[in-house]
Amino acid sequence: MSDKDTHLPPVNAMPPLPISQGWMGWNRTGEWRYFDPVHENHLPPCNHACPAGEDIQSFASLLVQRKFREAYDVIRESNPLPSVCGRVCNHPCAANCNRSELDDAVSIRCLERLIGDWGLKNVKTQAAVIDPDKGEIAIIGSGPAGLSAAWHLTNLQYKVTVFEASPKAGGMLRGGIPEFRLPRKTLDAEIHSLVDRGIEFRHNVRIGQDIPIDDLQRFRAILIAIGAHKPRVFDIPGSDLPGVQQGLDFLAEVNCGKRDFIEGNVAILGGNNTAIQCARAALRLGGKPTIYFRRSANEVPAFADQIEEARQEGIEITSLTAPTTIRKTGNELKLTLQRLTLGKRDSSGKRIALSIRGAHTEVTVSRVIVALGEDPDLTFLPRRIDRESWGINTGGTHQTNVGNIFAAGDCADNRRSVGSAIGAGKAAAQSIDRYLHGKTVFVESANRIVTRFADLNVAYFQRSQVVERKKIPDDRRLTSFAEVNIGLAEADALREAARCLSCGVCNSCDNCLTFCPDHAVTKQNGGYKINYDYCKGCGICIHECPRDAIHLRIKQVPR
């Protein structure tokens, strides 16, 4: 009798026939495995692309479940202004949406807008609990960066005071964006929710003019978020004539309600968002705007949807044209334009625009609106603060070289979008908090792995069309400042939210559980648990996960 036989039952202890006595659970097939499958969420590309870092997958998923309040809270963890962003953000989230490789990107801004509007209607923002020991923070400027920083600092229990030079908060949101893109009542309501949160606003106070910046020393930290409002120099013969106006000034007037009728042709010089908005505003005031842009058509820097909407409204964009002189004849202005062509590439790879000898045209216009870009006005800043040609230098940390002075938004960043300003405000708030806790302020590196389209198992996704947002009818659109884009109806938004692929994020689809040949995956605490005693490491769960939320790890040392 071998050693083994002594451990086996004697013949009399066995049943008369080979009938089973129990289950196979004793057989730990996990020993067969070479690697471990692990449920681990990766970063959806939309989330990765969002400067504010909004958890888009999460709020889309909550929206599908009709959990509006939860969805609203999720957005506001990153961004206090969803109604604003749902309208004016250039949505890099959608540009990076994996769904666009399957059919159409999810219309994330429509979801954000719906949730934001729902919140404005249904949620009364509660005042934050402020910890008096944490001290006070001053924020200079109430544009998107300032508002965002104020919100996040308040959430971190700091007492925040925002200094705003204008009578009303909003910065570029108010002065630079016309009502047909962002209704005032939406902006006002969203800013008001920040007041509800306990943020103190001090209007009509221009730091450096009304109060010297050094008077803010009672604050533990100061955040400069003044935006970029100083127009770039435009100096050609005739540029100082009456009827030649800076775009931002024009928009500011229009946005304040000064809406005089404009007759005849209007020349808009420049291709940025301000230029497009000026053209669209001029159109609504009766003018016939044309945009003149020095570079080629596909180099127009304005957001694509802005350009598209302008074209829909019949606004012409003439590229490769540069103004040379403006003359006044009677009540009209004669604008001379030089035709350009693209030449060799410069060191940055861009082709240089070259004048075509003798190719001049002259147009007769009633007004010339100049929108060649803006820079921050840093004249009030103490000289000891480092700066670059485009603004304050923080090296991406949002902290200036003066310890307790921080900067965020257009004044410290050349990305120049509402979304990036909101993201910068959030990051600056975190930097300030770290600084005040004596920690190192650092540039947060994206260390999470982003799920790309190739990582998905698209067999589980049906093709579906995006739900397009609608526009108001042309007769109203072209003659009033009514908001052009209409938000999605709730049912459409829910349908659109359901199109979210939840890239990289487990949404409990059960594929891993369903397809496990070894019954090694079970549900636990709303997620899944892999029983490594039995998992044979076949990898089906990893491969069949539609959304790249299970990954392979080298097998751990024997348990």
């Binding site: 083994k4 036989d5 086996l8 013949v11 066995m14 049943p15 008369p16 026939l17 080979p18 009938i19 089973s20 006595q21």
Partner: protein
Amino acid sequence: MKAKTVTTGSKMLLNGSQAAAHAVRAARAEVITTYPIVPQSLIAKQLLEFCSKGELQARYVSVESAHSALSTLIGASATGARTFTATSSQGLALMHEMLHWAVGDRLPIVIANVNRALGAPWSIWVDHNDSLSQRDTGWIQFYVSSCQEVFDTILQAYRLGEIVQLPVMVNLDGFYLSHTIEPTILPELAEVDAFLPPYQTEWRLDPQKPRSIGNLTSPDYYLEFRYKIQEAMDAAKAVTNDVYQEFESHFGRHYGSLDCYELEDAKTVFITYATMAQTVKHAVREMRREGKKVGLIRIRMFRPFPAENLRQLVRSSCRYIVLDRNVSFGAGGIFGQEIRAALHSQALDSGVVSITLGLGGRDVSPAMIKEIAAKYSEGEVFAGDHYWEGVRS
């Protein structure tokens, strides 16, 4: 012939097939399968009639082959039903695979095998190579000689098989028994119920207690399971005697695994089985009248082989002539071998003559038996010698 209206507790004229069917009815078999083959067909026909008339509450499954006939019973028996099928010759050979399976799963299925020679060439007449070829499958085997014995042995088969958890094959000769009418006593069903309680087993397929039967079994256990089959076979010898006694107390008829005739002072004893034993008995009776000291041992039970019983009867001063209606090519008559092996330990096998005869339904007459007695009673024989009788020269 058309079956007569059945009344119980009475003596009836029945052929062997009808007797078998009546026994199955009396045993209240629950699942029956058959696939027709000559000369088994009469059993199938009679059972179908019982079932269709409601005289037997059984599920009758008309399968497409003998292989499936037994397979279906394996499913039914493993689910706890009392089961029956009848077959013959090629059918039994086709079942061979599943004969093993029934034993391995320890299922007390009862088969009536109507003995018939195996092809080729085609023969529909009796010999016993079909069932004796199955001797190592682990089935208990009976060979019977009369219609009454067909009936009685099938009842005993259920009783025995269900106790020792082994399947039982009751063999009756094709035509000589299956189609021969004899007066047969059919007991009251209540009396049969008293002798044979309903089949109950804890070893069955039961969703309430889900256990699997016949799983892959490693070398660590297979040997033990085979040992247990042998144990059951050994136990069957003792249990059989109990069953005989119970049977006698219920029905008044005595049976043994061996049946002896005129052994007292016999110098020459025939050992044989099945209907051939009836012929031999007749011849022995005649030879006794002629003053010849001959006798007969009829072997009723072939598996387990009643070796101990046989040894008690055998004397060294006597010549034993084994008549085998079968042959194991290259070795000899199968009963002859079995008997020699049983007697060898006591050195009694030297007086055993093994003769193969009557294959494929060839008639074995009393005159032939007398000639064989004359020819083989005297003279030297050697262990292992095997003779053929009836082969034309």
